[in-house]
Amino acid sequence: TTRTPQFLGLDKSADMFPESSSASDVIIGVLDTGVWPESKSFDDTGLGPVPSSWKGECEVGTNFSASNCNRKLIGARFFAKGCEAMLGPINETEESRSPRDDDGHGTHTASTAAGSVVSGASLFGYAAGTARGMATRARVAVYKVCWKGGCFSSDILAAIESAIQDNANVLSLSLGGGMADYFRDSVAIGAFSAMEKGILVSCSAGNAGPSPYSLSNVAPWITTVGAGTLDRDFPAYVALGNGLNFSGVSLYRGNALPDSPLPFVYAGNASNATNGNLCVTGTLSPEKVAGKIVLCDRGLTARVQKGSVVKSAGALGMVLSNTAANGEELVADAHLLPASAVGEKAGDAIKKYLFSEAKPTVSILFEGTKVGIQPSPVVAAFSSRGPNSITPQILKPDLIAPGVNILAGWSKAVGPTGLPVDNRRVDFNIISGTSMSCPHVSGLAALIKSVHPEWSPAAVRSALMTTAYTVYKTGAKLQDSATGKPSTPFDHGAGHVDPVAALNPGLVYDLTVDDYLGFLCALNYSASEINTLAKRKFECEAGKQYSVNDLNYPSFAVLFESGSGSGVVKHSRTVTNVGPAGTYKASVTSDAASVKISVEPEVLSLKENEKKSFIVTFSSSGSTQDRVNAFGRLEWSDGKHVVGTPISINW
């Protein structure tokens, strides 16, 4: 977050966001590993009294007292009963039975969403600058639900229960579970209740990409956030003895390597284990790696764990190579020894050298921080991908936001690698994941909410989605790090968030609780399942035609049922004009030659706050050969606003 505000255009548009009470009245609840309250990111200088609506508390526990809260960190609770019922009492010598964060993740996400401005922030000098959350004046309420043993659904529900009672306005959940129907998924169930109270719930999409159908948190009342890169990198070049040079990344800072090249060895050739190339604990032969630099392949264990294994075997450095699973995406880590992470292609070339050279040597050259890297953003390879496995007619993820190499606050209870052997302590850490992109959107949603307090969670999400961008300034399509090719709505949803444009979206696709209940009817949920999810006795009308295609969602996921290549699918939508009166014209682009897309009516004239409906008809005439995923985009424009919605089509 020393870069994301500039990357998102927040620095140039500070005057568009209120500095006054409306911004500081918004409360972001973060369900995570707790908080390190002493972090400067929770300094409350300049903030007024706690909003009168707030009913939360600062709970007392291990190393945590009520005085740890202030006008920035206005609430801190912990929920351990579910974890303890499953795994036994929290071992208080290992983790705090309190809101205190012993992990770092919760401090990172909370400070990303709403951290105060901290100048002079960096990790060992990397990414140096002024760190700040997306909504610097919003208040933070922390709900600790994740423990060393995991994050349990009974604790998560208890936290959502409290957050609703406490009057939080936005909930940020950088966690997920398996894929379950909405009425069996506690996050989806709790989020429904929160949404009903006007709380926007933002969740991470998951890090199971680039495999398709890998998303979590796909309920339509949740804002599902994927991850993209920034225009910042931390280059560390790998210079081989044969003169070839490869780009890698690193956050290492410490004792430098000797100036002269060092002997270089492939981990797979320095181990008796079949998976020795992965540098798993206990698999490297010290006599074969001591004093050398070791090349390890990614997989099975954490990246930083491999560095620790290599170091403890007596090696001086590490080159960590991506495999096909990660492609060319470079994720930087604060390794315990000099190390550089390289992409698959570079890794393959380096291995070729290692296997062909009798006495291979290598140097690693650390270059610090570079900004202005293009293209950016690029969809992170790890970011989970659609289609939506629960309801394919709802396109997910909703959008992407920065989630690669993000600097934000950290816990002083743990080092930047999170490893027990890491005794270093830092104020800020740089980590990656959709966990990091989610709180960006949570904070941006809080900003939108502060400007438009009357907007529903669906309207706020719609504004963020319909103004998201899918092309670079050059006009080229956003890229996917996993393939190096253009990304699709299954990867980036509506596109990359553009918060300044989201303040003034022109039109929004709004949704009410009744709309979601109709959606549950369209899914043929039983009365009991609807009651479980929505806490009410609701009978779907027997004669009424419910259609998932009619949920007023700001995207279109068109599903032609199997059986024939041809067919007609209609989606109806209603837009609300949240800008001045205007006439909007529809335009559709698509890469599906065999699908005709028509919009009726093609022109909508709307007064201020007026709602108007339209129908999009998708007619497929394709043969079976054409049955592959296809994508497009519908835009409504009045010449000033562009209200974009992604289209995915599959058979």
Binding site: T33, G82, S153, Q165, A205, G206, S528
Partner: protein, 85 residues
């Protein structure tokens, strides 16, 4: 010899609050009563009213099955573990 105790797991019990019999003054009393009817020893870990209607408790699989068959009980869902992303 002691017989092996059936293993208990945590369950989240979803309740149709609108079906609470009038004889109960408060929904938590109804929850306790229904829980007692399937288990003498089970205790509530949490009761919920905003996020869901219901409670979390530790039950054997058989107790969970029995509870789920009771009137007013919508679902008895096993505890799920979520992971940080």
């Amino acid at each position: 010899a002691q017989a092996a105790q059936p293993e208990r797991g945590t369950y989240i019990v979803h309740v149709a609050k609108s079906e609470m019999p009038q004889s109960f003054e408060h929904h938590t009393l109804w929850y306790e009563s229904s829980l007692k009817s399937v288990s003498d020893s089970a205790e509530m870990i949490y009761t919920y009213d905003n996020a869901i209607h219901g409670y979390a408790t530790r039950l054997t699989a058989e107790e969970a099955r029995l509870l789920e068959s009771q009137s007013g009980i919508l679902a008895v869902l096993p505890e799920m573990r979520y992971e940080l992303h």
